[in-house]
Subunit: 343 residues, 2 copies
């Protein structure tokens, strides 16, 4: 597959998918965004990206309309174009790459959303890139589209939706990419992964390729497991968590359990990595985690992807993770109680 031009379908066009998809459109790919809510508005106005890397707009393109120069919108200084569809059946059969950036809490929708690609995936090599937190969700994609090549992206990105059609990219943006195998073994850095890396890099996104997806996932969980949950439970930002000795002890205890769980899957992560994550958080700009934002805005928290999946995997190897279990139960209580409050 050519690394410089692709026909990309974006499923989950929010603060992550809307941002990366727009950068790919800007770099010359043919991008189609699936939009559910606010389709009327976005299909007319397109998306606006306010990024620390430069602002730009992505204007709506109609199938058949080719002269991109004719379209401009005075609201956007630099404008590019993309398709906006309301149903995954409208993506069209020429798609070669699917970027899935749904929040993991929405994964139940994928069985329906990927139906449209079932025939295509038999005819040609479809590539899927799943950008999500957590661990193990790729298995579901392998089941749904067994003939597709599955890659996973781990985003280190701070972006928010400012309004239905405006995404603000606040900080970071690096993407770690790795290939996924149904048996979850490491499969190295092949030419397809390299091409995929080039695609994102050409779009201005810093890319890091990893030969073992599961190891990369565990490494990301080293940060997500303590900081996402504790930020909700202690109503704290990341800087407050690392600056207090007691919460820092909780961070270290939780990280040590992630280390144990990773080890049970043959992924040895040294304790120096743990300390490095702590140090990096000290020097990070303080910000509320995505889970804290979800909780405060009454959205579902990614408890399945980040916590339940880890406990389930650890159970199969009889690895005891009491701190992670405690944190999950407390978060479950808070989630249920929050929704009671809202009733």
């Amino acid at each position: 597959m050519d690394s410089s031009f692709r026909k990309i379908a974006v499923i989950g066009s929010g603060a992550v998918g809307g941002f990366y998809g727009s950068l790919l459109a800007k770099s010359g790919c043919e991008v189609s965004f699936l939009i559910h809510s606010d389709f009327e508005k976005i299909s007319k106005q397109g998306l606006k990206i306010e990024s620390i890397w430069g602002d730009f707009g992505v204007l709506p393109l109609s199938k058949g309309r080719v002269n991109q120069d004719k379209i401009s919108n005075p609201n956007y200084k630099n404008s590019y174009q993309a398709y906006f569809v309301n149903d995954s059946k409208d993506f069209g059969s020429d798609v070669d790459t699917i970027l899935i950036c749904l929040k993991s809490t929405e994964n139940k929708q994928l069985a329906y959303l990927l139906q449209a690609f079932q025939d295509i995936s038999h005819q040609k090599k479809l590539q899927i890139v799943l950008i999500q937190n957590g661990i193990g969700q790729e298995l579901f994609i392998h089941e749904l589209l067994p003939f597709a090549k599955v890659f996973a992206g781990l985003a280190f990105l701070c972006s928010v939706k400012k309004s239905p059609h405006c995404i603000q990219h606040i900080d970071y943006g690096e993407l770690t990419l790795a290939e996924s195998q149904p048996d979850q073994t490491a499969c190295g850095i092949g030419s397809e992964l390299k091409d995929l890396g080039n695609l994102f890099q050409k779009a201005g996104i810093p890319v890091n390729l990893e030969d073992d997806l599961i190891l990369a996932r565990w490494k990301k969980l080293f940060w997500n497991i303590p900081f996402n949950g504790l930020s909700v439970l202690l109503n704290a930002e990341t800087d407050q968590i690392v600056q207090n000795q007691d919460s820092l002890t909780l961070v270290r205890d939780l990280m040590a359990e992630v280390q144990l769980a990773a080890k049970a899957e043959g992924r040895l992560i040294p304790t120096s990595f743990l300390e490095d994550r702590v140090k990096r958080t000290f020097s990070m700009k303080p910000y509320p985690t995505s889970m804290k934002l979800d909780y405060e805005n009454g959205r579902a928290m990614e408890l399945d992807a980040i916590y339940r999946s880890v406990l389930k995997r650890a159970q199969s190897s009889n690895t005891s993770l009491p701190n992670i279990k405690f944190l999950l139960h407390a978060l479950e209580y808070l989630e249920k109680n929050k929704s009671i409050d809202k009733k």
Copy 2:
């Protein structure tokens, strides 16, 4: 020592000591309350008790003034009398019983407060009754007054200070009494303990005598360890905690650790006791725990008596209590962060 008349010094004249001390004054004992803040006001007006067992007042008595009938206060329907002192040196040498109802967070004051009794405790059999949450604080009393007899009271009481001189008794009131030994062994129910029980019972307080203080303390911790901490961490009342499956799991996990820690000290508590505590909480009137009230009002939480003491005792037997440790660290974070908020 006569069970029906005693000269009692009350140290810690708050919602617990003020209530029990006033009942003892009402029953005919000579009670002296140590009052620090609001001494001017209370030494003139006395204490007002608004109790589900009946309202009454305790009016100030001056040393030397004996005709109690002359004193009355139109604010109190039923009035009794007691002394109010501002310094423990003013208790006088005829005291035979010291009721200590300080919050455990104030125990550092005891070294000074009990100095006044050091000579007396050599001359006669002084009895100390320590009514506090937690475990092991009696050891400090044994050290300070090695010649005194030490008893401990575990209060199952719901009372609050409505104003500096008014205590509201909302619910319950039962007192479990046991004798304390410096080596923390069980010492049975002797005649002195029985007399003490009669003293409180005569004052209208339901009393339960136990032959093993440490076992009684562990049994009380079965409730205090989960419900005090979780009520703060989850911002929940007791009914919310038992009605949610996730927080109930946390309760059971924490109780199982208390069971383990008790077992390490030779106190076997059956799992049926654990379930009984859960069931009793289901049928209890929902109320915020004392720790939640402390936290919300910016007062120190009893983390030493309820959590650190337990972890310390468990450490000496290499008993691992990860859930209790997690809860303590989270509470420590919240306590420090709360005081930062208040600055």
